[in-house]
Symmetry: C2
């Protein structure tokens, strides 16, 4: 494969000049410039980014380790990250942790060895020794969506407390007072926070949360189904099941359907996370929407701020309640399934 040398020879200049043209780094005559470009085209020269990176110690690449690539929340997030990164001239390498710490570490390690300029991490579960090391070494790291306690790392995430409060108030307004929550793993910050917010919201609305209404899932569909079964088997089952993420909502939906129960007549369903097809279910599912695009954008900016040594701004964005019809809302709220108040 052709290299700078070949281009230089063909254009009758030195390799330095070729490099200068390719990076328009220093003044080059229009004429030589043209000759070089011509040679480049002629040879179909493709710069070797590996060699360039070795020399410049920068790859123009950022790593993104997501929790679970089958979770639409993360794929949307990945897309947002990708878009923003490209705008700044960076490529994104995605690693799928599959919610497994060892796989997360595999990618963190690999990406670091590949010398990504920065790393966006949606941490899986607790702090691993590797992550601790990486943080200590001061690698350019930003946490996304989730955070880890006691680690001094900027985090970009959404806060659902307000939206969860709005949801509970909404449910009470609908006359549904017995609501159960399928929480995410207590090991995940997002899991804990949503549970806390739910408890607080119920309290603020003067509603009880019997212990058996608080069940723990793992952010996968299977656990949503199992925990929903437990809830529905209760002597006094809840009037609404609120799932801590979209995959568990899906599982709960399966269980409800399998029992021949009707939504919202027999039981209501609400979900943290909004995904495109919630609007297309019958009835459309009332959900809490995270500002995924903005999350991705902010995360990239925060990371690039670190990389390029600017002051970095962590961000906490607000999630938003999207009212549809799965909790016994007035049926006149029809149409495309979008709640009012949507931008």
């Amino acid at each position: 494969m052709a290299g700078v040398k070949d281009v230089a020879r063909l254009a009758g200049v030195s390799v330095a000049t070729v490099s200068r043209v390719l990076n328009d780094s220093a003044a080059v005559t229009g004429e030589t410039r043209a000759r070089v470009l011509e040679a480049v085209a002629e040879l179909g020269y493709r710069p070797n980014a590996v060699a360039r990176s070795l020399r410049t110690d920068t790859t123009r690449t950022i790593g993104l380790v997501i929790g679970d690539i089958l979770n639409p929340f993360f794929t949307e997030l990945a897309r947002a990250v990708e878009d923003e990164a490209r705008r700044s001239g960076y490529s994104v390498v995605i690693g799928n942790a599959d919610e497994r710490p060892e796989r997360q570490d595999h990618y963190v390690r690999t990406l670091l060895e590949q010398r990504v300029d920065g790393l966006l991490l949606c941490p899986t579960a607790e702090i691993t020794p590797l992550v601790r090391d990486v943080v200590r070494d001061g690698a350019p790291l930003v946490f996304l969506d989730r955070t880890l306690p006691g680690l001094d790392v900027p985090t970009v995430r959404a806060d659902g407390a307000e939206a969860i409060g709005a949801l509970v108030a909404h449910l009470r307004g609908l006359g549904r007072r017995r609501v159960a929550f399928i929480s995410g793993p207590a090991l995940l910050s997002t899991g804990r926070e949503r549970t806390e917010a739910f408890r607080a919201a119920m309290r603020a609305n003067g509603l009880e949360v019997p212990e058996e209404y608080l069940v723990a899932g793992d952010f996968r569909a299977g656990s949503g189904r199992e925990t929903a079964a437990r809830l529905l088997d209760l002597p006094r089952p809840p009037e609404v099941i609120f799932a801590g993420d979209n995959l568990m909502a899906l599982g709960a939906l399966d269980e409800i359907r399998a029992r021949g129960l009707r939504i919202p007549a027999d039981v209501g369903l609400a979900s943290y996370d909004d995904v495109p097809w919630f609007a297309h279910l019958e009835p459309p599912v009332t959900a809490i929407e995270q500002p995924v695009q903005e999350l991705g954008r902010r995360a990239v900016r925060a990371l690039l701020d670190r990389v390029e040594r600017r002051p970095v701004e962590p961000a906490v964005l607000a999630a938003r309640l999207v009212v549809r019809r799965s909790c016994g809302e007035a049926p006149e709220n029809r149409g495309d399934g979008e709640g009012s108040g949507r931008a």
Copy 2:
């Protein structure tokens, strides 16, 4: 950051020995080996993959350029590719073409410059000059899902002809003879093939396809909705709308719902591509399932065969009809929404 030199110094050996230990490439005493490993741990040494790649001319990385990251078909595919690649010790860098040729080319170029060992491409639309060059240069390339005519590149894809035949026969058995097809872009091999297969299947079943029943979309939801509207406005609208991919099916579904029509009573709906939530809609959608996992696996194997200079096997896998209830099937076919015949 620590390099081989530092490790060598600390372990009291030469850099060559360090390298040998790290790659267990040649015989090394157990004792020196231990010392080196200790030094590695002590320093938190992370090999520089960039330098290694420059030297070895291999990155243990493959590129994957998909059509649209918001399309669940492609995210599932990406995951399958990722899994198989990891099994062989390769990382995957994903590029999202967003169905735009220039963006596809952007990634093809970038990935080639990053010196990926091989490239999996789901080509967007027609042959671009870049792609032609790349093929001419003999870069290790495999087409996935889609193919391009007249280019000598191994392709791994699914063939839906048989499944489409089964679908049409199934519809006729249900007494639905007027079926319309929302095709994908004629520029895409997958678009053309499905249309051809549909025509052939209708003919084989003795059914007519009036020209106005064959409308063209672009594999995005918006076009599904618009074309469905055109079909439903027809003086004699179809009894079943068959969408050429899952996103267009979603669009069609929106339009049907917005008009207050009922599925399958007023109009039936079927889709090419099966996605998890089709089973959760009311009614569950009859669809054609592509062997996504297998597609991903085979593509990686084919690519690595090329990379490692083994004979490469292209593959054409069969898609499969999954009968649910959106086309007027007997309501006793209930349950989890999975059609019979599922493995």
